[in-house]
Structures are given as structure tokens and as C-alpha cells.
């Protein structure tokens, strides 16, 4: 699925860019806004554009093929660099929140939260055995998302994914629990969407919090649909776990661990 989308995006992007450049060179020069913007940006960075860059710009404006090619090449390099920058930028916040999470876990706070919300978690993630650290991590992530704490949510979510991976018998294939967790996560249950309020304040809105009720209702709809969709799609054969592995391997472990716990003393 992702392979096809990845391939389609790249072919469509480059192919469409090529076709557009052909069209432009037939209809006459009208450089795209994006190229001009990028040129303006790079000009700003380098200070006053000298004669050579001005000549280059004129050349780019005359030749749509050059403009589109340059735009596609520059974009791919910039995208790769910005992806690395995002990840490097994550290191600090990841270390901070996973450190705090570990303190909370050692203090028994995460387990307490997991125990309090156990019925809901059990229903959503039947494959995750009770008391597993994944339960606590997922709950922490969902709570952080609800409060609009995006910075804290990502590290907690990644921690949850790593805990879920310990229950995964295949290692390269997503489990049902992972799919459910991500569906809930991307449908973004938000009680306080601070970023939106921020944008609206920045744009001189008279009432920045006006859409809050609408946002809350829309997120409830999308999260409900996410849970239903993930449940429904998991049954399709094309999405089945590979190599004849059981659909949800640790599902029996709830009863078996219960039994094991009872036998233990």
C-alpha cells in the first residue's frame, strides 16, 4: 500500500512537473509562483543578489524547463535536509519526556493510570495483555494529545510503539494493536486545540475559540470512524498477518497470564 503511494507520488510529481514545463514552453514563459518565491527566499538569504544571480534568475524566468527542473531538484534536497533536522530536533524533547516517563513508571504512576482506564484499553486493544507497559504508554500519549501537548505526545507515542513491538511476533509487520493505536492517534482527539487558537489569534480573529465546539464534535466523529474502520479492515484478507501466523497472537495470553499469575505463588 505505502509502496504504491510512494511510487505514485514520485512519478506523478516529476511527471506532472515535466508535462507542465512542456505546456509552459509551448504557451510562452510564465514562471510559476513557487519558483519565484524560492528565488526570492534564496536571494534574501544571500543578501543583495549580484549580477550573476540576477542573470541566472532571468534565465530561469525565460526557460520553464530549467525552472521546473531546478525547483524539483532543490525541493528533494531541501526535503531530505529538513527531515534530518526534524529528527535531530526531536532528540532533546524525546530525551526529556522519555526520562520523565521513566520516573513516572518507576513511581507506579503509569500503572495506576492504566489500571484506572483498564476497561477502555482492554476493549480497544484486546491483544495487549493487562499490566503490559504498552497500555500505560498508549494512555499517556492519548492524554497528551487530548490536552494538545503535541511536544510531549510524540515521545510517549513512540515509546508506546516500542512497547507494542515487544508483543509483535513478526517485527516487520504492523499488529492490530499498532493499527488501532495509530488510527486513534491520527484522528486526533483534542480537547484544547491550542495550535488552531494560536493561528487564529495570529490572524487577528475576533473570537479565536469560536470553532472549538465544532472541532470537538468533528474529532469525535473522526475518532469513532477510525476505530470502526480499523476493526472492519483488520478482517479483510489482503490485510491479514503474513505466513499463516495467528491474526492476533497474544489474544489468548490474557486468560493464560491470568492463570499463570494465579499459579505463580
Amino acid at each position: 500500500m505505502l509502496n504504491k503511494i510512494w511510487c505514485a507520488l514520485l512519478i506523478l510529481g516529476i511527471g506532472y512537473g515535466f508535462a507542465k514545463a512542456v505546456y509552459r514552453s509551448v504557451t510562452g514563459p510564465s514562471p510559476s509562483r513557487t519558483v519565484l518565491d524560492q528565488e526570492a527566499d534564496s536571494g534574501k538569504e544571500e543578501g543583495v543578489p549580484d549580477e550573476k544571480t540576477r542573470a541566472d534568475q532571468a534565465k530561469i524566468e525565460r526557460n520553464p524547463f530549467l525552472a521546473m527542473g531546478k525547483s524539483l531538484t532543490d525541493t528533494s534536497v531541501q526535503a531530505a535536509e529538513s527531515a534530518v533536522a526534524i529528527c535531530i530536533g526531536l532528540i532533546g524533547i524525546m530525551a526529556l519526556w522519555l526520562g520523565m516517563l521513566n520516573v513516572a513508571k518507576d513511581a507506579g504512576l503509569v500503572d495506576a493510570l492504566a489500571r484506572a482506564l483498564r476497561p477502555a484499553v482492554r476493549w480497544l486493544f484486546p491483544d495487549v495483555p493487562d499490566g503490559h507497559p504498552a497500555q500505560g504508554a498508549m494512555l499517556m500519549n492519548i492524554s497528551a494529545n487530548m490536552l494538545g501537548l503535541g511536544n510531549a505526545a510524540t515521545p510517549l507515542g513512540l515509546k508506546a510503539m516500542r512497547e507494542l513491538q515487544t508483543l509483535n511476533p513478526t517485527k516487520e509487520t504492523a499488529t492490530n494493536a499498532m493499527a488501532t493505536f495509530l488510527a486513534i492517534n491520527t484522528s486526533s482527539v483534542t480537547l484544547i486545540p491550542m495550535t488552531i487558537i494560536g493561528y487564529r489569534v495570529a490572524n487577528q480573529s475576533d473570537n479565536p475559540v469560536e470553532p472549538l465546539a465544532g472541532i470537538l464534535m468533528a474529532t469525535i466523529v473522526s475518532t469513532t470512524v477510525a476505530i470502526l474502520a480499523v476493526r472492519f479492515l483488520a478482517r479483510w484478507r489482503i490485510f491479514a498477518m503474513p505466513q499463516g501466523l495467528p491474526q492476533s497472537p497474544p489474544i489468548q495470553t490474557r486468560s493464560s497470564t491470568d492463570r499463570a499469575e494465579k499459579q505463580e505463588p
Binding site: T75, V103, A218
Partner: protein, 190 residues
């Protein structure tokens, strides 16, 4: 400066959300102190893992961000919108074409967070944040996520490459959120 009781609602919300993190941290540390947890060691152990995860995501994010950005740079989205406006105009739905300004937002939202923010700012500056279109766009933006980014980062952290039904389920949920935002905007703000 005004007192706590005279603050407008938005400032109360903002203040509240700024205090959530310090209060949560304080709670954790106080509780850990009561339980006599060796906090410093515990923190460092957890923090180490953060570094590994952040570095591990890099190849996945480069792969994903690069195709999305190249796709955007081709100008496909802008032209798609022009085409849809033209088609709708010819179908006699010209009156609704204003609503189409949120279409690029709906299409870009799952792919690129910064792209969506750019489109949202465009909508705010052409229609105003308090207009019908502005409110619809706000609702849409607030009720959806940058799905591709989240999926890439989360699965990258555990090196999972086959996502099975995750992506279709998330995209269905996004579509539901976008449709809900449009419908709710007509109910609440029209």
C-alpha cells in the same frame, strides 16, 4: 496586566495549557519522591532511549518527506483546484465555488503539516479567520492530523515496514473528519 478573573477566555485556556506541563512534571517528581524512586538514574535511563528513537526515524522520514515535497513542488494541487472550480462552474454549481477554497486544505492536510498551515493562512488572509470559510477551515485543521508524518515516524521508530490496514483506516478517518468539519460548519456557522 489584569487579574486572573478579568482574563478573556482564550487567555485562560492558553494559561491553563501552559501550566499543564509544569504541573504534570511536579506531580511525577513529588510522587516519585514519596515512593523513594532513584529519580536521577531513572530519568537518565529513560532519556537514553529517546536519543536512539530520534536517530532511528531519520531514514523513514527522509523517504516520506522527500516524495511529498517533490509532489507539492510540481504544482499539481494548485492546478487540481483550478480544474475543479472550472468543472463546478460548468455544472452550474458556481455558487459553491467559494467553499472550494478549503479543498486544498483537505487534500494537503494528511500529507504536510507546514503545507496545510500555509493554506490555512492563505484562507485566513483572503476570507478572514471569522468568516464562514475561515471557521470551516479552522474546524478542519483542528480535527485532523498530518497522517503520513505520524505514521512514518511511529512505524519508523519500531522499524515496521508493512503497515497492513493502518493507512487506509487512518485515511478513512481523515475523510470522515473533513466531511464532519464541512457539515458541522454548515450547521454551526452558516
Amino acid at each position: 496586566m489584569h487579574s486572573l478573573f478579568e482574563m478573556p477566555f482564550r487567555e485562560v485556556m492558553d494559561t491553563f495549557s501552559q501550566w499543564v506541563i509544569p504541573v504534570v512534571m511536579l506531580l511525577i517528581v513529588v510522587w516519585a519522591a514519596l515512593k523513594r524512586v532513584p529519580m536521577y538514574e531513572s530519568f537518565v535511563t529513560g532519556a537514553k532511549e529517546g536519543f536512539d528513537v530520534a536517530v532511528m526515524i531519520i531514514p523513514y522520514l527522509v523517504a516520506m518527506l522527500f516524495v511529498i515535497k517533490v509532489f507539492m513542488a510540481s504544482g499539481f494541487f494548485d492546478d487540481l483546484k483550478t480544474a475543479v472550480v472550472w468543472v463546478m462552474g460548468h455544472m452550474g454549481l458556481g455558487a459553491y465555488t467559494e467553499t472550494l477554497d478549503v479543498l486544498p486544505l483537505a487534500l494537503i492536510r494528511p500529507l504536510s503539516g507546514s503545507g496545510a498551515q500555509g493554506v490555512l493562512n492563505d484562507i485566513y488572509s483572503t476570507h478572514g479567520p471569522d468568516s464562514f470559510i475561515g471557521l470551516m477551515a479552522s474546524t478542519m485543521m483542528g480535527s485532523t492530523e498530518t497522517t503520513f508524518y505520524v505514521i512514518t515516524v511511529y512505524f519508523g521508530a519500531v522499524q515496521v515496514k508493512k503497515m497492513r490496514h493502518t493507512l487506509p483506516a487512518c485515511l478513512i478517518a481523515d475523510a470522515a473528519g473533513i466531511i464532519a468539519a464541512v457539515v458541522l460548519a454548515y450547521i454551526l456557522f452558516a
